[in-house]
Amino acid sequence: MIGLGEIFKYEFVQRALLAGVLIAAISSVLGVFLVLRRLSLIGDGLAHITFGSVAVVLLIGFSPLYVTVAALPLVMLSSLAILQLTRYKRIHGDAAIGIISSVGIAVGIILASFSGGYNVDLLSYLFGNILTVNQTELLLSFIVFIVVVGTVIFFYNDLFAVTFDEELAKSMGIKTKRINIILLLLTAVAAVLAMKVTGIMLVSALLIIPPLTALQLSFSFKTTIIISAAISIFSVINGIIFSFLLNLPAGGTIVIFNVAFFLVIFGAKKILRFQR
């Protein structure tokens, strides 16, 4: 068995840890706004769209090195389609996510059949592998991290107001449409990046579980964001290390760590409340 100290000597592990930390921070920060606006399922929807987009990109013949980058525009466009659909009074947000995500999966399945069934490349995206992160994806993660942190700091008041109450935000002169577009586009990018960490099947876990855990501990809006990012980063680091040491799939291990944190904190809170 490889020792703990030895792990960090491998360049691909260093890359995985760095990318994992950046993607965990991105997803968990955006997740706070999504969970509080009851848009948790958007992660699942965008992940399904990512499946279709990756199938398109692979069929076109993009090198696996650039699949993540090439899939981005399609996922971003789809996120805007979700937003557009929700404008119709008779289509609720969850239904809009359902329509677009079904299209994503359907397109993925059809295109996979063109290339002779579920080929290895497409399946690898379904379950993800953070240890295969390449330099392009690491650079993309770093750029997106800077953009997300910058956006949250610059638009903090607007994001807070829109999350609290969209109508109230509008009455304060906040361009809520612009804020919604920014949030959805960043979430689309986060979903594509998170695909590499946990796989398409578990993308929403990175967006939903850390914010939910943070909400159990929160004592202000700012601390909720910070706690969410801290829990997510800690889970990703532990998940990568343990998966490497125990030869387990990284994506699943990361999600199990996230769920374990949630259960421990949720349970401890319940016990404390019961004892009072």
Binding site: L36, R37, K89, N157, F160, A161, T163, F164, D165, E166, E167, L168, K170, S171, M172, G173, L215, S218, F219, S220, F221, K222, T223, T224
Partner: protein
């Protein structure tokens, strides 16, 4: 001559093909205290949401502080208390202080302290809004509307969850803001007695403007006697007169 802070011309708003507001034209002058009354579904909240740019009318024009709504940017001059907060849930992690501060555009910490004190919520400033009672949440939202010391305050049924004491404090405060500081106030309420006591002008709405004008006009209008009945009209006018003669 005082300027119009709000004016609407032939404002029409439809929802799902049904006309909710029909050709609404009215104006609110600077320093006025206007009450908006009308039955459920009469379009009171919809009118205010159109004025504040929350909803888009299908027809007509709106101007705020003399500027068309589309080019209006001085939102810090307006404080708004909505009828109900859509997103407010019991696990929203915003502190009272954070929420009140959200309305503070000039970042004047002194304003924040004063308004927390004024609304009697200073001791709650570190609590999460979701943990508070509905009445306390309402006071937080009042503080949010007031913190920026706006020139125009819009209240949509502001006292539904307040106890009688806090309700009286609230109305006295609106009266003081209006009389001493010249703050223009728009108040939507079902309590016509309150309108009679505090507002100088009022608008009776039922998808269209049924009555708009001063209390003097209202009290002498035979049409309004027909609408409200002589007793109600008398009570409203009496309350208003008592306040005018004993401010």
């Amino acid at each position: 001559m005082s300027i119009n802070l709000i004016s609407t011309e032939n404002l029409t708003f439809c929802f799902n093909g049904l006309e909710v507001l029909s050709n609404i034209s009215f104006a609110v002058k600077k320093g006025d205290y206007v009450g908006i009354v009308g039955p459920n579904g009469s379009g009171k909240s919809t009118l205010v949401k159109n004025i504040l740019g929350i909803l888009q009318p299908q027809k007509g024009s709106i101007s705020l502080f003399g500027q068309p709504l589309s080019s209006f940017r001085e939102w810090n001059k307006i404080g708004y208390l909505p009828q109900k907060l859509n997103a407010l849930n019991t696990y929203f992690p915003g502190k009272v202080e954070e929420i009140v501060q959200l309305g503070l555009r000039n970042k004047n910490a002194q304003n924040l302290e004063q308004v927390l004190q004024l609304m009697g919520i200073k001791h709650l400033s570190s609590r999460l809004i979701g943990e508070l009672s509905y009445g306390e949440q309402q006071r937080v939202m009042l503080a949010h509307a007031l913190v920026n010391r706006p020139e125009l305050l819009v209240f949509d049924e502001p006292t539904t969850a307040l106890d009688p004491e806090t309700r009286d404090i609230f109305y006295s405060l609106t009266e003081e803001l209006n009389r001493a500081h010249g703050t223009t106030i728009i108040l939507i309420t079902h309590d016509i007695g309150v309108i009679g006591k505090y507002a100088r002008n009022f608008l009776y709405l039922d998808k269209k403007v049924i009555f708009a004008g001063t209390f003097e006009d209202f009290c002498t209008s035979p049409d309004m006697t027909g609408l409200f009945g002589p007793m109600s009209q008398h009570i409203i006018c009496h309350q208003h007169d008592a306040l005018e003669s004993n401010p």
